[in-house]
């Protein structure tokens, strides 16, 4: 995997461009919002206009400002979760797979159990047990339920690399296990690790929004998930406030698709069989 290949992959570039736009919006959100996203001082139920580009909510909040602000939560949760999930996968998948033996047996058994526990119901139940969910509770819950699949994939790859001559050579020369994993194994499976990272981010973004939609996050945060929660609570459907329903979900779908594109494209680049030239 190298930069030239990524730059020449249209899907990777499309995903990265969309994501970059959302990142810029998230970083400069305080400068971009026309009004405070939490202010409730406007006439409720206004249709889109020059003053309120996307109209106002039933509670008199500016929808456009909320959409802009919501970018922050999704990207923050997505990337923090993906980082933590990748770290767990590094230990439970790559390291355990490389070391083998008892460590691997135990790690595999744990991974297999997490793999069959139904993630979403578990997510809902954990979030419900840990009431008063701050964003960090959501992150913890998402990380616990979201790491297993990738760990299994990475483990298989680490095992395949274990017997390669260059790995054996460094083992014979007495390098430590973590040193070998980090300098020889990981760089040689970087494509799959990066691809998995984006897959985990996608899972996290959707999971966060879903939990918040059913009221298991902090409903006072301004995120796309809580916007849809309030739209549902405020009977946006009956009131015909379809912009309030449409835009936050559309943003979620766009961020999700960009993460999916990156996940897919990096996998494609790392896997020679899927490459364009045959």
């Amino acid at each position: 995997m190298n930069w030239r290949e990524i730059r020449h992959n249209r899907r990777a570039m499309a995903g990265a461009s969309i994501l970059a736009v959302f990142f810029v919006v998230a970083i400069f959100a305080p400068l971009l919002v026309p009004y405070s996203p939490t202010a409730v001082r406007f006439t409720p139920d206004l249709p889109p206009s020059g003053y309120h580009w996307l109209g106002t909510t039933i509670n008199g909040q500016d929808i456009f400002s909320q959409v802009i602000w919501g970018t922050r939560a999704s990207l923050f949760v997505g990337f923090v979760c993906a980082t933590l999930i990748s770290l767990i996968q590094l230990v439970m998948g790559v390291f355990a797979g490389y070391v083998g033996g008892l460590v691997d047996t135990v790690a595999s058994a744990i991974t297999n159990v997490f793999l069959v526990l139904p993630a979403l119901p578990l997510l809902i139940i954990l979030a419900a047990y840990l009431q008063g969910g701050s964003v960090f509770v959501l992150i913890a819950v998402i990380v616990v339920t979201g790491w297993a699949w990738g760990a299994k994939v990475l483990r298989a790859q680490a095992i395949a690399l274990r017997e390669r001559p260059f790995v054996q050579a460094s083992r014979v020369s007495g390098e430590s296990r973590w040193h070998i994993v980090l300098t020889h194994i990981v760089p040689n499976m970087l494509g799959i690790i990066v691809s998995n990272f984006f897959g985990a981010a996608l899972f996290a973004v959707l999971a966060e929004a879903g939990l918040e939609f059913i009221g298991l996050g902090n409903i006072n945060d301004v995120t796309w998930g809580t916007m849809l929660y309030w739209a549902q609570e405020g009977n946006a459907i009956l009131l015909g406030e379809w912009v309030w329903l449409l835009v936050p979900g559309l943003c979620l779908a766009l961020v999700g698709t960009s993460l999916g594109l990156l996940n897919f494209a990096v996998d494609e680049i790392a896997n020679p069989r899927l490459r364009r030239e045959s």
């Binding site: 899907r11 499309a14 297999n112 159990v113 793999l115 069959v116 526990l117 139904p118 993630a119 979403l120 119901p121 578990l122 809902i124 139940i125 954990l126 419900a128 047990y129 840990l130 699949w149 996608l202 959707l206 929004a209 879903g210 939609f213 059913i214 009221g215 298991l216 849809l228 739209a231 549902q232 459907i237 009956l238 379809w242 329903l245 449409l246 936050p248 979900g249 979620l252 779908a253 961020v255 999700g256 698709t257 993460l259 999916g260 594109l261 897919f264 896997n271 069989r273 899927l274 364009r276 030239e277 045959s278």
Partner: protein
Amino acid sequence: MGRSHAVSEANENGGRVRYLLKRSGALVVTLWIAITVNFVLPRLMPGNPVETMFARYQGKVSPTAMHAMQLDFGLNTKTGELGQYVDYLRNVVSGNLGVSFSYYPARVSTLIGETLPWTLGLVGFATILAFLLGTGLGMFAAWRRGTAGWKRGSIADSGLVPFGLLLGALPSFWISLILLYFVAFRLGWFPVGGGVAAGVGLLTGPGFVSLINHAALPAITLTLISMGLWILLMRNNMLSVLGEDYVKFARSKGLHDRTVAVHYAARNAVLPVFAQLALALGIVVGGQVFIEIVFSYPGIGYLLLNAVENQDYPLIQGIFLIFTVALLLANFLADAFYVLVDPRVRVGARQ
């Protein structure tokens, strides 16, 4: 020669049986772990939700009922944690999932039994439809790409891959809301929620029509969100297979591209895709819960939300158990089917 054939046949059957036995063993162990997790989880949580719950119900129900509830929940303070655990295991094995608090005195197993058919119907239908449509589209994309690699450039593939990715990134609850608003509410093509019109017998003609009408939008949503994965998996697998020597050989024999794609490549590509059913079912089950919530569909996902909102822990535990058992069984059946049709798995298992 006949004798050696018989021997290899016997060996093959042995491998098959041994493989399935191994898988059944794993099934039982995983099941036990899931049940244990289910027992431990509420007890690990801060503030002991079980006690909080009893505190909430204190005074609302009579002391006798309270005592009965404690017994029902296996929360006998005289037996220790281990005793409770043994009781819990015994109860689960005998199908006793306790009594719901929010629907007291309804039994958890009764509530689950009432809602499960709705969910199974929807999940079963949507999974089969999504698999057929998704693998079909994935095959088509790879075939156009593959033969284009033999010729280059394919609109079908450049369009279908982002389409599949988009489907995989759609929040199921949002698609449900949008369809509910535009198709059910504005256009009025379908009812806006529920499982069947009130007061209609399920087994009558109008009842059946009403059933289909109510299930249509949830089923469409579920099919949409789970189809993306099948498109992408099938497409990638098919592309790998198209690079195999026997495909090149078939082409070099001068067989028609379509014959090669369907009879040589697709048949071999679809089996490993099928093996990803575990991953797909996870997505389907997750989507299903949200879809039922938005459409007020009387399935187990909607029941889960009610249980969570009412902090009905016996019901939450029971539902989680059913989800786990259902997923495990589905995986086991898919595995068994896979072993029956693909000899490579048997060989792999024997080694």
